[in-house]
């Protein structure tokens, strides 16, 4: 049972247009933010846009729970002529993920920006943030392959510049942003070439139509090549090993609000697209989708889980440690996705959501106490000077390490269980080894913030602002709540997984 079954958040007239409003609201907010005369108004605009999107996502979740997948023909033209917005359980799951993280980041953003950038840049930063948010929501909602490319670019183009704005604190933000731009553009272009190959074979761009025609097509060399290109392109965007080189730089040098939002959403949405194309669109080509999953993605994910964790141990800067841990987590999630069972995919989605919450908490709290690209040691003694922020940070780190009674533990436990049931012992070993390694770096961070005392020369650390604290604690508390009683989120994930695998939940 979906937790949203029976809920109704708006009148039917609004729900009818929810898929379009979901995307149009933050887009409007971005324009208003760019127009607004002061940073304060821009913040209100971005908060408003994010909240409306969250509201629409909730409406859609309820609607999908009630009557199955929602299809919205933009412009009134039925697919395949027009562009279709299509929300099933899986897309709604990701819509909720993106909009929750967007709202949390938006609440904290005003105080974070004040720490990092001059006032005159704030309204454009908010506009750029809203554009990235629009793009990611569009990616989750669209049912058209080329439209997905457009939204991929909407979410990326602004982001490159936003990451580069970290240069006011750390000049490496510029080179990191450039590398991110080159890699991101190559990824998006590979994606669009792949879509072109699928189009050459099927003659349509609508994903559902494409799936049908692929199942009926006789020769599929070009389709397989197209899917392979899409996989590589999205793997670049998702920072899948060995195409992850751009991520640590971007995460360690970008402005906090940008990194917190990206860490929680951008790579996750790429995973969504990967699932959508390989398991849904390629559904008719049994050999292609599954072959790519089994022989390309699974081994790479296993290596990523181990290698990235080990790399994280050897980093000296806090944010780099966390960036490598993100790469490892993407590895776990992909191992779950490739398991080929509903239980495995469910666990992967559950892990993905909890990890997004945890990482957003960590990056937001690090930013809120004004700790950026610097080394871990400078956090020494932070626990005494900013107890509230650090308490949330510590909870999140415990979740990252997989301590019992946190959502992180539960997610990993279920993932390991599902993989063991499928007989993928090597994947279980990889995740277990990686988790043990994670204990090392998580322990280091915890020890530094909680038990060490500040060196006399170090700068003082001040508590986060009330707004930021509210956002941080909301997410931290939910991650603990889902560690104790996961049923709501877990049901949502199972519903999503079942809808992709074509099984009844």
């Amino acid at each position: 049972m979906s937790p949203f079954a029976g809920a109704q958040f708006a009148s039917p007239e609004v729900i009818q247009h929810a898929p379009a409003l979901l995307i149009a609201a933050p887009l409007t907010a971005a324009c208003v933010a760019a127009l607004s005369p002061s940073a304060r108004w821009a913040w209100f605009a971005s908060l408003g846009g994010a909240l409306v999107s969250l509201w629409m996502a909730l409406c859609l979740a309820a609607e999908v729970a009630r009557s199955g997948a929602v299809s919205y023909a933009v412009g009134g033209f039925a697919p395949p002529l027009g562009i279709e917005l299509r929300l099933d359980d899986l897309s709604v799951f990701f819509c909720l993920l993106v909009s929750v993280m967007g709202v949390a980041t938006s609440i904290a953003s005003a105080s974070l920006l004040r720490l990092e950038l001059p006032e005159r840049d704030h309204s454009l930063m908010q506009a750029g943030f809203m554009l990235a948010f629009t793009g990611l929501l569009g990616l989750t909602a669209t049912g058209d392959a080329f439209n997905a490319f457009v939204f991929l670019e909407v979410s990326s183009i602004g982001t490159y510049a936003l990451v580069a704005m970290g240069a006011s604190q750390d000049r490496r933000a510029l080179t990191a942003a450039f590398q991110y731009l080159v890699m991101g553009t190559i990824g998006a272009t590979l994606f669009v070439i792949g879509v072109g190959l699928l189009y050459a074979v099927t003659g349509t761009l609508n994903m559902a139509d494409m799936a049908e025609r692929l199942a009926a097509s006789s020769s599929d060399t070009a389709a397989i090549a197209g899917l392979a290109l899409i996989t590589v392109g999205l793997a670049l965007k998702a920072a899948m090993f060995p195409l992850h080189a751009w991520l640590p730089g971007a995460y360690s040098a970008g402005p906090t609000m940008v990194v917190a939002f990206l860490a929680g959403t951008a790579t996750k949405v790429s995973v969504y697209l990967l699932i959508r194309f390989l398991m849904d669109v390629a559904g008719g080509l049994e050999s292609a989708g599954e072959g790519l999953l089994t022989w390309l993605i699974a081994p790479m994910a296993g290596i990523a889980a181990i290698v990235a964790s080990v790399q994280a141990v050897f980093q000296t800067e806090t944010r780099r440690i966390l960036a490598y841990s993100s790469i490892a987590q993407i590895g776990y999630v992909l191992l779950g996705v490739t398991s080929g069972s509903v239980a495995g995919l469910t666990a992967a989605l559950f892990l993905l959501f909890t990890h997004a919450m945890i990482k957003t908490v960590i990056f937001l709290s690090l930013g809120a106490i004004d700790h950026r690209g610097s080394r871990l040691e400078t956090l020494a003694g932070a626990g005494r000077e900013a107890p509230w922020t650090i308490a949330a940070l510590a909870l999140a780190i415990l979740g990252l390490a997989g301590a019992p009674f946190t959502a992180g533990f539960l997610a990993k436990w279920r993932l390991l269980g599902a993989l063991a049931d499928d007989g993928r012992i090597w994947a279980v070993v990889a995740i277990a080894a990686s988790s043990l390694t994670a204990l090392v770096y998580c322990g280091r961070i915890l020890e530094t913030v909680l038990f060490r005392t500040r060196r006399p020369a170090g700068a003082t650390i001040s508590e986060a602002s009330p707004a930021a604290l509210a956002a941080i604690w909301f997410l931290a508390a939910s991650s603990v709540w889902y560690g104790v009683d996961a049923s709501a989120l877990y049901d949502l994930a199972r519903q999503a997984a079942a809808s992709v695998m074509g099984a009844s939940p």
Binding site: H17, A20, L21, A24, L27, T28, A30, C31, V32, A34, L35, Y72, A73, V74, G75, G76, F77, P80, L81, G82, I83, P118, R120, D121, L124, M125, A127, G128, L131, T134, G135, G138, D144, F146, N147, V150, F151, E153, V154, I157, G158, Y160, A161, L162, A164, M165, L197, Y199, A200, V201, T202, G203, T204, L205, R213, S219, D220, T221, A222, A225
Partner: protein
């Protein structure tokens, strides 16, 4: 008239020859050392590409490629590269082999699937026979515009175009964030970055005074003509921006900024996107789907318009007005974003020059 028309097969050969020329320019680009050479080759590449696109029956794309690739892109590339035209050697061979092998492998992999791709010019291939053909058949009935490319761009796939306009807006936001901090007010505008020769050159100022209004007029022609021939909001926006940039080149950026401050330009970019989205909202308020132009006018009103399709005629007034409205939004957003980008780049270049001089 028959002189203009070669046989279909000869056309394909001609097109393949032009594509060879384009690929030749890429080879030259691979070998080029100086950045300035690279930029000029890129410009030539775009222009040749535009010619090739004409032979491929894609005048709209050719128009865009020529104005964006050969025009605006070259200009901002030159603007950004002006102060470092030094030659930088290629990468050491030791660092080259892995990417080279990877690209070669990708090329071979792609070449292997050629037998599975549609034959060049085949009218029965899946892309040409399915959705593409449906657009050609249904446009007169659904939209009523002769140019099917405009119909698809602005109406059938209008949501894509909204995304495209947003991408341009996002680029403008990004460039203003990265470079725009310095050029807020006309007083703070940099020293004259106009062409050095233009100081006191009557030829240029007379030509510019004569041309700028005509270029603006042409931009609006391209905007309105998009329904019937090649053109549309995007191309019109680039042309409008070209008029402003010509003004800046001849009379100096400071003068242009006085007439059109950065704040106004930025607001126009946002208003363009907002206007596009507003058309979508208006359709929702009238009971249609997002961006459904048929719902823009109330049925009673449209039935009263001359030769409306609701009264048995063939004019789709809602579609027509909707397309014109969103194309105007696109034009506004594109023109102002391009101008903002130009402001940001020229303002910056002269600023670093000044820093170097002092």
């Amino acid at each position: 008239m028959s002189l203009l028309l070669a046989s279909p097969e000869l056309e394909l050969v001609f097109s393949a020859l032009l594509l060879t020329l384009v690929a030749g320019l890429v080879v030259a680009l691979l070998a080029a050392r100086s950045v300035l050479t690279c930029i000029l080759l890129m410009s030539a590449f775009s222009l040749t590409m535009a010619l090739w696109l004409m032979t491929m029956d894609a005048p709209d794309v050719a128009f865009t490629e020529a104005s964006v690739g050969a025009g605006v892109s070259t200009m901002i590339l030159l603007g950004a590269a002006l102060s470092s035209t030094d030659v930088i050697p290629s990468l050491r061979p030791g660092r080259l082999w892995f990417p080279a092998v990877a690209c070669l492998a990708a090329f071979i992999g792609m070449a292997l699937i050629v037998p599975d791709l549609p034959v060049f010019g085949d009218p029965g291939s899946p892309p040409s026979a399915y959705v593409g053909r449906l657009y050609l058949e249904q446009t007169p009935h659904d939209i009523g515009a002769p140019n099917v490319v405009t119909a698809v761009l602005a109406s059938y796939r209008g949501f894509d175009t909204l995304g495209e306009t947003t991408v341009i807006f996002a680029a403008g936001v990004g460039v203003l964030l990265l470079l725009g901090g310095q050029v807020r007010s006309p007083d703070a505008a940099p020293e004259d970055v106009s062409l050095r020769a233009s100081a006191g050159s009557p030829v240029l100022s007379v030509a510019a005074r004569l041309l700028i209004p005509i270029i603006c007029l042409y931009a609006f022609y391209v905007l309105a003509h998009g329904e019937f021939g090649a053109g549309g909001g995007f191309q019109a926006g680039v042309i409008l921006a070209a008029a402003l940039i010509l003004h800046a080149l001849v009379f100096g950026v400071r003068e242009t900024m006085k007439a059109l401050p950065v704040g106004v330009v930025r607001a126009c970019a946002a208003l363009g996107v907002l206007g596009y989205a507003a058309v979508g909202f208006l359709a929702i308020l009238n009971g249609g789907r997002f961006l459904d132009y048929d719902a823009l006018l109330s049925p009673v009103f449209e039935a009263g318009l001359p030769s409306s399709h609701l009264a048995g005629g063939h004019h789709h007034w809602g579609q027509r007005i909707g397309i014109l409205a969103i194309e105007t939004g696109v034009m506004l957003a594109v023109a102002s974003t391009m101008t903002a980008i130009f402001y940001a780049f020229t303002g910056r270049v002269s600023r670093s020059d000044a820093a170097g001089a002092s």
